[in-house]
Symmetry: C2
Subunit: 109 residues, 2 copies
């Protein structure tokens, strides 16, 4: 399956509910990061808070990027028990979320 | 300014209007990629189309990621004449867009 080859970036844009305390957010992000050590196809994880100045963030405050080696790897991650258990803690804390996956094409200069 | 240091990822989630032909989309993406050679603080560019299976993409079909060395670099890019001219072609072709910038924190395992 040609489309299944190559690195896949899994992007989550999120906004936490206003009543979630900062220390709870830190704990949830640590739990997200810890999935890398629990789910084999999840190869890397990075995250950060929005620092944009263009005012086009539509209220999203956090970006999470996970890296996989294939779309099958993402599917294995999504179905993994550790991911499901994490989501049961994480998703109820979110006000909104968007998830997109893409296979990066780099600029050739 | 401590916050201004370090790599900044500039993420655009986009959906093109339904009446924009595929060849026009290709041309616009080439124009976006070409900004790397025109705007010094823009250090890298990658893009791809959504391949997610979780149905949380909220209609977004394209991801564009540009890399800068600082938030000042992003500001210089946003104000750059080449970017402004590109946006005048690109933004009218979009049905919707979200832009977030973040400084990636990596997982330490």
């Amino acid at each position: 399956m040609e489309e299944a080859k190559g690195v896949v970036k899994h992007i989550l844009l999120a906004r936490f509910k206003d009543d979630i305390p900062p220390e709870k957010i830190v704990e949830l992000i640590k739990g997200y990061a810890n999935l890398v050590s629990l789910i084999e196809p999840m190869k890397a994880f990075q995250w950060g808070t929005d620092v944009s100045a263009e005012n086009l963030h539509q209220g999203f405050t956090h970006v999470f990027e996970s890296t996989f080696e294939s779309v099958e790897g993402v599917a294995e991650y999504v179905a993994h028990q550790a991911h499901v258990e994490f989501l049961n803690l994480f998703f109820p804390a979110l006000d909104k979320a968007i998830i997109v996956d893409y296979k990066p094409t780099f600029v050739k200069l």
